[in-house]
């Protein structure tokens, strides 16, 4: 077992920042000042918390624009932002501001919401820990993937993209270390769009891809 896949796990916890926005101008101002962990939470935290409207509005900003501000144009533009394109949260923050500020330029009066519909900025703390589980060979991943916790799926498939070698999930990165023997499999895994789904579905998709590759 020279190059095992070391399975890690994580747990996320949300922290209120106390910062809120009641109109689009305030949203823009707050986005400038909140910590990066806040941007992370509002783009990716939905995967690990209670949420039902994620397929349509994959980040909290888009969801708020649609359901609270009732600005469909803004909601659509925010929803299409792909956080996977950015190596770090600062790049993502700039893109987010670009969209919000562009919309502010188009409007004479910033749209606003009632008090109980304010946008609450939340940040995360993430605790990463070892599971003690190792997967010796890619074929064995097929049988093990279903026993991964959702925290492990999040850590290796989502969180991995903001760790070196950046913008790639841990499974593909591992498969690429086998001298091209699993290049097809790695490509199939990389083709999964993790953004419009939930972790249960992601886990099933990974399982299906592994089954197809090893069992035909």
């Amino acid at each position: 077992m020279e190059n095992p896949f070391i399975v890690r796990d994580c747990a996320l916890i949300a922290i209120a920042t106390g910062l809120r926005a009641q109109n689009l101008r305030e949203l823009s101002n707050r986005i400038r000042e909140v910590p990066p962990a806040c941007i992370y939470y509002h783009f990716w935290g939905g995967l690990l918390r209670a949420k039902f409207d994620d397929p349509e509005f994959p980040n909290d900003f888009a969801s708020w624009a649609q359901h609270s501000l009732h600005d469909k144009r803004l909601a659509e533009r925010l929803a299409i932002i792909n956080p996977l394109e950015f190596e770090n949260m600062e790049g993502l923050r700039r893109e987010l501001l670009e969209v919000v500020d562009e919309r502010l330029d188009e409007l004479d009066i910033p749209p606003w919401v009632e008090t109980d519909q304010q946008f609450h900025f939340i940040r995360t703390q993430i605790v990463v820990f070892d599971t003690g589980m190792q997967v010796p060979y890619p074929r064995e991943l097929m049988g093990r993937i279903q026993s991964f916790s959702l925290g492990s799926i999040f850590y290796h498939f989502i969180d991995a993209r903001r760790r070196p070698p950046y913008k790639i999930d841990d499974f593909s990165a591992w498969l690429e270390t086998f001298d091209g023997r699993y290049a097809d499999l790695a490509r199939s895994i990389q083709a999964i769009d993790p953004y419009f789904t939930n972790l249960h579905v992601l886990q099933s998709e990974l399982k299906d891809i592994l089954d197809r590759h090893f069992q035909g």
Binding site: A11, G18, P36, A50, F52, D116, I122, I126, G132, S147
Partner: protein
């Protein structure tokens, strides 16, 4: 002790239980104390009855202490509770003095346990001043606020804030409930215990018995609201919605709740409900004892739809309970109901008796949809609002507060 956690394996699956065990490993052996003001009755005690043994099962030396006080103390803290939720009452100075004095006395009794603990969880305002008496403490102190303090009566909040600001962290059920404090404010929604009397699966014979016991007709749809007789729960609006829907479909309504004899407003609202009910034999207003958990369980299970038509709500655990029993919920568009009820998925958010009646008719007309939404509701609760998720977040928080306050904590080995 281990078995206590294992009982949940068949409900939440191996991955969740294993995840909890691994997460708890670095916390094994630490001393944790929870402090609240009652052993029985109320949501906090219900959660602690379950959470404390679960923490023990994971190797954390966990104890639960209850502060005591005279009737004047509890009257004062009840007033405080109401004012923090928005009632504009003033609390007399002697009552506040008694509040502080009662906490000092309780601290003297609990000093050893509190000083030795690695982590102390203080629940709600009643025991909040304890921290102020604990000089040279070694542990981290966390204030757990279970109530909605989004629009408090400011003088009372300013008074309480002096006691809770020095804590190392606080926990809130929703971000919208929180006031800004100078420490990390963690967000942990509450949960239900699927193995408690209120939520455990019931034998079909017990459900049949419930029809008979409450004089309900198994042949006609039953809709139910379980809640205190409180104007914020809008029982009169529920009766109005039932009447509007009944013009189109045969229907029975159950309004079930417990009422404290010393709650004058509760008695008043109950009287209003009875007047509104009139001679309608299909409206069943049930005043149940506070420990009637199994009866509530049965009533929720024999209902087709559960309502929680609140005008203002905390988290709304009755919604969670109903969803766990595969019932779509028609819930008021407020508070924690909003993060549980999703239109066309787990129920409908409603704003008026008319809207409620419309959704009742819709669901009773589309039974396949009703059952599909019920199943989705149960699954949603399984993933988000069971005690195991609550426990996971407590463990994560305990690791976080005992490590450097960074966004990312990587545990060794």
């Amino acid at each position: 002790m281990e078995e206590y956690l294992e009982r949940y394996r068949s409900i939440v699956g191996d991955a969740v239980i294993n995840h909890l065990r691994q997460l708890a490993r670095p916390l094994r052996g630490i001393r944790v104390v929870h402090v609240n003001s009652t052993r029985e009755g109320g949501g906090v005690a219900e959660i602690l009855h379950c959470l404390v043994p679960l923490k023990r099962a994971l190797g954390l030396e966990t104890t639960w202490e209850v502060i005591d006080g005279n009737p004047d103390f509890f009257e004062g803290t009840k007033k405080m509770h109401n004012t923090l939720q928005g009632n504009r009452l003033s609390i007399p100075a002697p009552m506040l003095k008694n509040y502080e004095e009662t906490n000092r006395r309780n601290f003297e009794r609990l000093e050893g346990v509190l000083k030795e603990a690695d982590i102390v969880f203080i629940h709600d305002p009643q025991p909040a001043p304890l921290l102020g008496f604990c000089e040279n403490r070694r542990g981290k102190w966390i204030w757990r606020c279970h109530i909605d303090v989004s629009r408090p009566h400011r003088p009372v909040w300013n008074y309480l804030r002096n006691f809770v600001s020095p804590y190392d962290a606080s926990i809130w059920s929703l971000s919208s409930f929180a006031q800004v404090l100078p420490h990390p404010m963690y967000l942990i929604p509450p949960s239900i215990d699927p193995l408690s009397e209120k939520n455990i699966d019931l034998d079909p014979s017990e459900l049949e018995g419930a029809y008979e016991k409450w004089g309900l007709d198994p042949g006609r749809p039953i809709i139910t609201q379980v809640s205190r007789f409180d104007r914020f729960k809008d029982p009169l609006g529920v009766i109005e919605a039932y009447r509007l829907a009944k013009e189109f479909i045969p229907l029975q309504l159950v309004l079930a709740g417990s009422g404290a004899p010393d709650d004058p407003e509760g008695a008043e609202v109950l009287e209003e409900v009875r007047i509104a009910q009139g001679e309608d034999p299909d409206i069943h207003t049930l005043l149940l004892p506070p420990d009637a958990h199994r009866s509530i369980n049965a009533l929720q299970r024999i209902s087709l739809i559960v309502l929680q038509k609140s005008l203002r709500e905390g988290f709304g655990l009755t919604v969670t309970e109903a969803m766990w029993k595969e019932k779509p919920v028609l819930g008021g568009d407020t508070g924690g109901i909003r993060i549980q009820v999703f239109n066309h998925h787990t129920g409908f958010l409603v704003n008026t008796p008319e809207g409620t009646a419309l959704r009742i008719r819709y669901l009773l007309r589309h039974r396949d949809k009703l059952h599909e939404m019920g199943k989705k509701a149960k699954d949603f609760v399984r993933q988000n609002f069971l005690i195991t998720r609550h426990l996971r977040e407590y463990l994560t928080l305990m690791i976080a507060v005992t490590h450097a306050a960074t966004d990312r904590i990587e545990l060794e080995g």
